[in-house]
């Protein structure tokens, strides 16, 4: 279930060009993270994959099938979608929320419910919460229900739009690690949108750093991006939050341009180029953070 964008442009009715000539291959069964600052077009990209938004020009394919030829409702039912603030139906109990898509697909009620209860286990929620309404859950629990709903129809593709943006840092970190565990078990094609670069490096097998108009500033494995930020923009973007990462430059190569960074526990976090001694701090990728914990 690979997804491909080919020269996709989205111009809204008010002439805003949210996405400008965007091309990207999103590999099957891996997590691709789209990261960039607010308004750069991340959500628009994501919503074009399930035809909530149709491109003005260009083609999007899923396994080489042009999605413009697929009926939107049918397409959406085979793609999981998780958004910020969960997007749950406030008038349906947790278990019915999780069962939403299977029920829409005509799965018998008892079967859909049983499967929904299993999914609550999968995302680490107590089955006792099944008969509550979403408003009776904490933000973190709601997001877990959102993830369970996204997985309910066993889709091959899971779209996640800042799913952990509205919960506190501790719960966010919990949810992130839960997602990593889930992804190890399930191997979905995950497209994850965030503006948090730490989250992007933690979760992504492929990280795509975007500028305004969804222009790709750099894409690659977190390690490649850390070692070799392609532009000033990328360097400053990945180094934006230096305090938290407690990184320190320890060694300069002979040229005086390359700096090795270590995190607070002494693990090597990355290598950056710092021409003229101007330093931009980088961060650890997920292996290092695992070592950190």
């Amino acid at each position: 279930m690979s997804i491909e964008f080919r020269s996709v442009t989205k111009r809204f009715a008010d002439e805003t060009v949210a996405v400008d000539d965007f091309s990207l291959l999103i590999p099957s069964r891996k997590t691709t993270v789209l990261v960039g600052s607010s308004g750069c077009g991340k959500t628009t990209l994501l919503r074009m994959i399930n035809r909530m938004v149709d491109p003005s020009s260009g083609v999007i394919t899923i396994d080489d099938e042009d999605i413009a030829t697929v009926e939107p409702v049918a397409l959406r039912r085979r793609i999981g979608y998780v958004m910020q603030n969960s997007g749950l139906l406030p008038h349906r109990k947790v278990v019915d929320n999780v069962a939403t898509v299977p029920l829409l697909n005509g799965v018998p009620k008892a079967e859909a419910r049983e499967r929904a209860l299993e999914l609550l286990d999968t995302v680490g929620l107590d089955r006792a919460l099944a008969d509550r309404y979403p408003s009776q859950l904490s933000g973190g629990q709601q997001q877990r229900v959102g993830v369970a709903r996204g997985l309910a129809a066993d889709p091959n593709i899971l779209l996640m739009d800042e799913p952990f943006g509205a919960v506190d840092p501790i719960v966010r970190s919990e949810l992130q690690h839960e997602l990593i565990r889930l992804q190890r078990e399930l191997g979905k094609t995950v497209v994850f949108v965030t503006h948090d670069i730490d989250e992007a490096f933690l979760l992504g097998d492929q990280v795509v750093i975007l500028e305004k108009g969804a222009k790709i500033a750099q894409q690659g494995h977190p390690r490649e991006i850390l070692a070799n930020p392609a532009t000033e923009f990328v360097a400053s973007f990945i180094g934006a939050d230096r305090g938290k990462r407690r990184l320190a430059p320890v060694a300069a190569a002979a040229t005086g341009d390359d700096v090795l960074l270590v995190d607070g526990t002494g693990y090597a976090a990355g290598v950056i180029s710092a021409p003229g001694g101007k330093l931009a701090y980088s961060i650890s990728d997920k292996t290092d953070q695992a070592g950190d914990a």
Partner: protein, 228 residues
């Protein structure tokens, strides 16, 4: 009280007629307001047109309606259909506004996310928009039901048997007891209607208390608006 016992049959008969005639306008307004209220949220122009139309209909004097409806409908002037139609028009006029507000109170995020997970337009209307608009719709419907029950008394002016007869008769005979009993029974019918609506609401919408406070707040706001 003695008068009431002596005339119990008359009073109960009038009360039954009164209740019977009140049902149709309430039902009609509920059913008509759902597509109209939904339409009013599809475009600003439609909203303006529908709400203005509702406002205009509501200002037509009832007597004028009673006299013109027979001409339009081809009914006899004393036919009770005229009163039912007239009150239905008022009820729809009020409900359109309430229903437009009800559908407007449904969170755009929820509509968006239900579309994203694969609801069709039709399925989303029945499965998401209507149930979420429900509590606000019910609030308006309760106002309409009380208003209809009380307005129906006017029907007696054109010879339709309702509790209004007791007001007229009591007034003409300068017999306040009869008027008071007429009022009391009107209030009782209104309360019964209200209780029935609330009960139906509880059964159909057990989730009402779990909805976000914003939509519950708009229930009270709508109730205040349609009555003012």
């Amino acid at each position: 009280m003695v008068w009431l016992w002596q005339n119990l049959e008359l009073v109960l008969g009038l009360a039954l007629d009164h209740a019977r005639l009140s049902v149709a306008p309430v039902l009609v307004s509920f059913i008509a307001s759902i597509p109209l209220g939904w339409l009013a949220n599809q475009s600003r122009v439609l909203r303006t047109i529908l709400l203005t139309l509702g406002g205009v209909l509501f200002t037509i004097p009832s007597i004028a309606l009673f006299v013109t409806l027979p001409v339009i409908l081809g009914t006899r002037i004393l036919d009770e259909i005229n009163v039912v139609v007239a009150l239905s028009i008022y009820a729809v006029a009020v409900m359109v506004r309430g229903s437009a507000d009800a559908f407007a109170s449904v969170s755009k995020d929820v509509i968006g996310s239900s579309t994203a997970v694969g609801y069709s337009r039709w399925g989303r209307f029945w499965g998401v928009e209507l149930p979420l608009a429900g509590p606000v719709l019910l609030a308006s419907l309760r106002v309409v039901s009380v208003t209809t029950v009380s307005l129906l008394s006017v029907g007696s002016l054109i010879g339709v048997t309702t509790l209004g007869y007791l007001f007229l008769d009591g007034y003409q005979r300068s017999f306040p007891t009869e008027v008071v009993i007429g009022i009391a029974f009107t209030v009782i019918i209104a309360l019964i209607f209200d209780a029935v609506l609330v009960t139906i609401g509880r059964i159909l919408m057990p989730y009402t208390r779990a909805l976000p406070t914003s939509s519950r707040a708009s229930v009270t706001r709508v109730a205040a608006e349609v009555t003012s």
